[in-house]
Symmetry: C2
Subunit: 197 residues, 2 copies
């Protein structure tokens, strides 16, 4: 059935979805009511229309500037640099961090031909140079894999002299891991025990 094959192709683009799971999802939509399917489509449409990138930190936000960047109670002299928006949620859950964030939307990966201009590095530099009050510390919380390490080293070089302190989270995060899979305790510990680069 052509329309089934087409939808299964669309489902297979979702991260980690194989042929079997795609079939199960398609069967769910075939089985479910028209109303439920319409709610799914409407929720997806609202997601794409309602959520944009915060123009300061590039996390997902319903407003122009996200709630974290507009929160005066947070420490605006600290910026924690992460690869992906979902990393913010993982760090927020630890309760160990009260500064701001910056989302790169990826990591530098020379092997994949992804350089600094493909991620939000220029925006980070401009943000630090224009910040008032000044940014005192940049915490590099990129993933502890080879691309994340490359990115952290690149940023440490780039930002040296621009801020008082450049740190890298480290203790506790397992090597080769993915930041947003780490449990809250470990991630909180790795934030408190961050090292200076």
């Amino acid at each position: 059935m052509k329309s089934l094959d087409r939808f299964i192709r669309a489902l297979r683009r979702l991260p980690g979805v194989g042929p079997r799971q795609a079939e199960r999802f398609a069967a769910y939509f075939l089985r479910t009511s028209q109303g439920e399917t319409e709610e799914f489509i409407s929720a997806l449409t609202a997601l794409k229309q309602g959520i944009k990138l915060c123009r300061v930190c590039f996390c997902y936000s319903e407003a122009d500037v996200c709630p974290i960047c507009s929160d005066d109670d947070r420490d605006h002299s600290q910026i924690c640099v992460v690869e992906d928006p979902q990393d913010i949620e993982a760090i927020e859950k630890t309760g160990a961090y009260k500064g701001l964030y910056h989302v790169l939307h990826g990591a530098i990966s020379p092997l994949d031909g992804r350089g600094a201009e493909q991620v939000k590095v220029r925006e980070l530099l401009a943000r630090i140079q224009q910040a008032s009050p000044a940014v005192r510390e940049v915490i590099l919380a990129t993933d502890p894999d080879s691309e994340g390490e490359t990115t952290a080293l690149y940023l440490a070089d780039l930002l040296r002299g621009q801020v008082e302190q450049i740190t890298r989270i480290g203790y506790g995060v397992p090597l080769g891991g993915d930041i947003d899979y780490v449990d809250e305790m470990t991630l909180g510990y790795s934030l408190k025990g961050r090292t200076k680069l």
Copy 2:
């Protein structure tokens, strides 16, 4: 973010999707292009509009009567009764069966309050009574779990006298399993070695 929470709630209704996978899927849609999202929605809409139930066997079909039911080369004197439409595909892959199908859309489950009237049993009986040429054999290929067994025994009772032979697939299908997870060899073997009830 309200629109994110709403879409995650919609995603959680998909079979087997937990909070972590729902977040990953939402992140995919936030990241992906508008065009790709539109193709997803359009494929889903086409699926719901284009696919209905075959009015003979109740499998999914783009036509009023599905290709299997309208195929004169298939043996119309055999009906294989399955719980779900995806079971048909699994049986077709074995190449061991050339008859027709009947999809119950579930199994009888007294514990869940699901009786014979909630699945396509009446339709099966009417179909057999009206069939010309007559149906010679009904193969009960419901899942080998307690609901599937209950359904098979119920149907065997109901259809006794209506058809020459009532058989149940058996050899090779592991107990407690799910028909459409079984490998092709095992399922083919269980079809060939079916037992008379």
